[in-house]
Amino acid sequence: FVLTEGNPRWERTHLTYRIENYTPDLPRADVNYAIEKAFQLWSNVSPLTFTQVFEGQADIMISFVRGDHRDNSPFDGPGGNLAHAFQPGPGIGGDVHFDEDEWWTNNFRNYNLYRVAAHELGHSLGLSHSADIGALMYPNYIFTGDVQLSQDDIDGIHTIYGPSKNPIQPIGPKTPQVCDSKLTFDAITTIRGEVMFFKDKFYMRINSFYPEAELNFITVFWPNLPGGLQAAYEVADRDEVRFFKGHKYWAVQGQEVLPGYPKDIYRSFGFPATVKNIDAAVFEEHTGKTYFFVANKYWRYDEYKRSMDAGYPKMIAADFPGIGNKVDAVFQKDGFFYFFHGTRQYKFDPKTKRILTLQKANSWFNC
């Protein structure tokens, strides 16, 4: 997080706000609700309280304007610059302006008012832009479906106003850091020649053309996929990747989620009802078999017959000696399996059933 230069802050904790005018894009009640929710995000984690007033000067005046609106920061028409806000202070201090040339929504469509208001109020309270892509104070518009202060945002507002009076201090999600030695993964899969690593709401991606790992929200590619995926694998010859969470799974081709998904793992793969979720999965191209890892056991599924092979489940330890009794994630590359459990990564040769190397889970990120 970054504090605004000069550390401007409100000297009072009970602040007022007023919505001076309303966008015609949404019913008034929706605008009121979006703005109220945005203030609540910040009041929930700090000693600040916000009260809406309907006339006169409030600490934070909120308005919808377009183009040059006489504050030396003209808006630029649709897209681009969506809104801005002023740092704490008298007069225009704290005020929020939304660009009326945008289309304001209360859903996934651009641009979600609640999401943009939550960001701008951070400025109204004294925060600047954060380079943490998971933070609401990240400058670019990203809407993942839910609006939540990250730990980075909470740390920032606590630095200015101190912790909330709530005996249980609220916490927020932390954005994974690819070079964090304690980094573990929810799921990993190859996808069209690349490797994608999944953690919480994020993906990390490496490819040989760009040394920097790319980290972004899963919803950037697949808006309808949930965070906290549990397993993923690619059936390369069908150009299909399957993602698993709980007893549901989704199939995608590139960025398209195939119709009819999510489906459930019991009907599609024949898992018994005792299997609540898949830990990890990997497709072995030259045999056409997919290995599903669940707790200390694994199943083998024939992708061409579309049926589970007989004689499964078997114990992981029996056929994958040395990788332990639990798998977080696995993918196949150049005929080798890469198993991940916690911060450990095992390179395994399925032909000789031997572990070739043991590395840190984040060894792929050139740290």
Partner: protein
């Protein structure tokens, strides 16, 4: 004749870059003739600052990823102090 690398011509791309850096990275917009020689160096410097902020490869050149970030909708408050 040379085919534009993307829908935008390189001239438009440069204009996009300059506008972005003026709006969000404090790049001056009013250059007098003497200062104009220093301008390209400053643009590279500001571009590197923006690339570092967004975790992009810091090249000082407007590569595709950098331009893609610049074209995303965003907040109007600058990323660096005025």
């Amino acid at each position: 004749f040379p085919v534009a690398t993307s829908e935008e011509t390189q001239e438009q791309e440069l204009e996009t870059v300059q506008k972005y850096l003026e709006n969000y990275y404090n790049l001056k917009s009013d250059w007098n003739p003497i200062e104009r020689q220093r301008k390209s160096g400053l643009v590279v410097e500001k571009l590197k600052q923006m690339q570092e902020f967004f975790g992009l490869k810091v090249t000082g050149k407007p590569d595709a990823k950098t331009l893609n970030v610049m074209k995303q909708a965003r907040c109007g408050v600058p990323d660096v102090a005025q």
